[in-house]
């Protein structure tokens, strides 16, 4: 382990990797600040650039972009009440009121410190838990992997929000179906309809860029801006940033909040599908419940505790979401799903073997996450007054440029204009699903897990001679399957009960 850490340290501290991390944090902050574009779009936009890099450098850049985008989302939430990412919605509850009363600088500084603390504690947990989990998962067999992938998908659907469970299941199934296009593991062409461009299947990059970057940019154009935001978009309502200093009493007040929210955020982030949004809301709710009656009144009106809790939790959750990716090769969120796709395209298979086969990649990513936090703090605090001006870039210039970068990003990987055409068509279909309120993240996760899931199912079925007994033969598999069934059924049953209850009340 020590050798691996040293290898990771030397890789992470290479000047080129430090520069990539710096660039990633800056680019991520910028992209994350733009309403409508979040970490997923930011990372998707980076993938074509990283194709020529070695896996460590590529992942380091993406980790920087991820952190930067999460922080950037909070910046726009605080300054103009337009969270760039869903994980920053709870940040706006108290961050924006602070900005309105002339404390934008303090709110941004507190967000930066909280993010740093959340990311730091998360990175320490990652350092402790990942090697243990990776060692444990070395004993996993195909049946366990298949069960784990089903669990990953089901957990994502279960956390998808009220009334969204079945829709998320459908989108995950659609993603799995898309994954079967092209050559199957035995070399047979499926669903290619004689089109040679489909022989290798649909490119993961194409799908992720179409469903996130293009669809998001088109949705920004399509949606009417809410009246309150029209007035403020691009024209921050605050006049000055104000002081960025926090008093000793204020630091004392938020320190326990940061500690609690970090732990909560990390463990929520580890759960597949839960992610930064749920973590930030849970932390906000927890702190509100723990606060005294007097402190409770301040929530929603610019409370420091109300700002520190979600900001810490969403960063700790971002770190936690790397646990299933690095140890089991299963992405816990759309962002880590894109990173998984990128790793596979570099020829690196994430999972328990990553720790053994590619220790430099494994450790350099973990170390870079911590370095990313430091860089964000160094970069963002002095640059906040300047970065906030970026919010004034007119949308009519930004959107076509984002669309162009998405198109050219895919073209530079395949040099095939048919891919561009397919991307636009898939992007338009994704917009239809967005309008119909069908979540797109399960689609991407289903698509990425599809190939691995089929491979493990095939192997497990061949070993068990076609019998489904493999699902309950091993205690690990049986446990995962039971958890999966419970994860899927509990939200469905509770939502059916609620529907029944509300109908009974109506009659």
């Amino acid at each position: 382990m020590l050798d691996g850490i040293l290898q990771g340290l030397s890789t992470a501290f290479l000047p080129v990797n430090l520069m990539l991390l710096f660039v990633g944090c800056f680019a991520g902050t910028f992209i994350g600040m733009l309403p409508g574009l979040g970490p997923v779009s930011a990372i998707a936009l980076m993938i074509p650039i990283t194709y020529g890099f070695d896996p460590s450098s590529g992942l380091i850049l993406m980790a920087g972009v991820y952190y930067g985008a999460v922080f950037g989302g909070s910046t726009s939430a605080i300054l103009i009440n337009a969270p760039g990412v869903s994980g920053a919605v709870a940040t706006a509850f108290d961050g924006y009121p602070m900005a309105q009363r002339g404390e934008a600088g303090k709110a941004l500084a507190l967000a930066a410190y909280s993010s740093f603390a959340g990311g730091t504690i998360g990175a320490v947990f990652l350092l402790l838990f990942v090697p243990i989990l990776a060692k444990l998962s070395l004993s996993f067999q195909s049946a366990d992997y298949f069960a784990l992938m089903v669990f990953g998908l089901s957990a994502i659907t279960a956390f998808s929000g009220k009334g969204q469970v079945i829709k998320a299941v459908l989108m995950a199934l659609l993603g799995l179906m898309l994954a079967t296009v092209g050559e199957d593991p035995s070399g047979i062409q499926r669903f290619t309809f004689g089109i040679t461009d489909l022989y290798d299947g649909i490119s993961f990059l194409l799908l992720s860029m179409a469903t996130f970057a293009i669809a998001e940019a088109l949705m920004v154009v399509l949606r009417p801006s809410p009246p309150s935001k029209v007035a403020s978009a691009g024209k921050p309502t605050f006049q000055t940033l104000g002081s960025m200093k926090l008093s000793k009493e204020e630091i004392k007040d938020v320190a326990p909040v940061v500690a609690r929210s970090s732990v909560l955020g990390f463990f929520v982030g580890v759960l597949p599908g839960a992610g930064a949004t749920i973590a930030s809301f849970l932390a906000y709710g927890m702190e509100r419940n723990l606060a005294s009656a007097k402190q409770k009144l301040g929530f929603g009106k610019g409370s420091l505790r109300g700002l520190a809790a979600p900001e810490t939790a969403n960063n700790a959750a971002s770190t936690g979401s790397f646990v299933p990716l690095l140890t089991l090769g299963i992405p816990g969120s759309a962002t880590t799903a894109i990173m998984l796709g990128a790793l596979l395209s570099y020829g690196v298979q994430p999972g328990p073997r990553l720790y053994i086969d590619h220790p430099a990649v494994f450790w350099s990513v973990i170390i870079s996450m911590y370095l990313g936090n430091i860089i964000l703090l160094i970069l963002n605090l002095p640059l906040i007054p300047y970065i906030s001006k970026l919010l004034a870039v007119p949308r009519q210039f930004l959107t076509p440029i984002i669309l162009f970068l998405s198109l050219i990003g895919v073209y530079l990987v395949s040099f095939n204009t048919v891919d561009l055409f397919m991307m636009v068509v898939i992007g338009a279909i994704a917009v239809v699903f967005r309008v119909l309120n069908f979540p797109l993240a399960p689609l991407l996760l289903g698509f990425i897990l599809g190939g691995m899931m089929e491979e493990n199912l095939r192997r497990a079925l061949l070993i068990s001679d076609g019998s489904l007994e493999f699902l309950w033969q091993r205690p690990i598999t049986a446990t995962i399957i039971i958890i999966t069934v419970a994860t899927v059924l509990i939200p469905i049953v509770s939502s059916l009960r609620k529907t029944k209850g509300s109908r009974a009340l109506d009659t």
Partner: protein, 162 residues
Amino acid sequence: MNFINNKDKVGSSIILLVALIYLNAAFDIPIIQVMGDEVFTARTLPIGLSILTIVTCLIQIFLPASGAADETISNAIAGFHWKPCLLLTGLMLLYSLSFKIVGFSIGTFLFLFIGFAILKEKRYLLSAAISSGVAVFMWVVLTQMFDIFLDSGSLYRLLAGA
């Protein structure tokens, strides 16, 4: 609750249609009987997936709709700016279809300039400056720094006699 005005029902119906087409195509997947492959063929997963999808779609379609106003399509799309969105989608299709003819630089300039105009940017000189700036900057970065070949387009080759 009007069926065709409900987001969940319409979305599920679209996926149901896709799943039926997918199932039909799954039966056309050729099967090579290699020893040991009988248990799991190239058709196994697609057929399983389509059946699961069809069942899930039917559950969603036949579940009683909540009747909430925010579930209706008419409410969801109220005030949407369809025209610029459709025009931008058309512009992207045009860009991808004409890429080999007009080439990277001219194509990118035109894409951005028209894109800005679609989003109601009236300062045409500024639009032209930004479009050409981005096109030239990207061309320099990609071809000179990263040594990537970018097609100059058949139109340019024809005009330049190359």
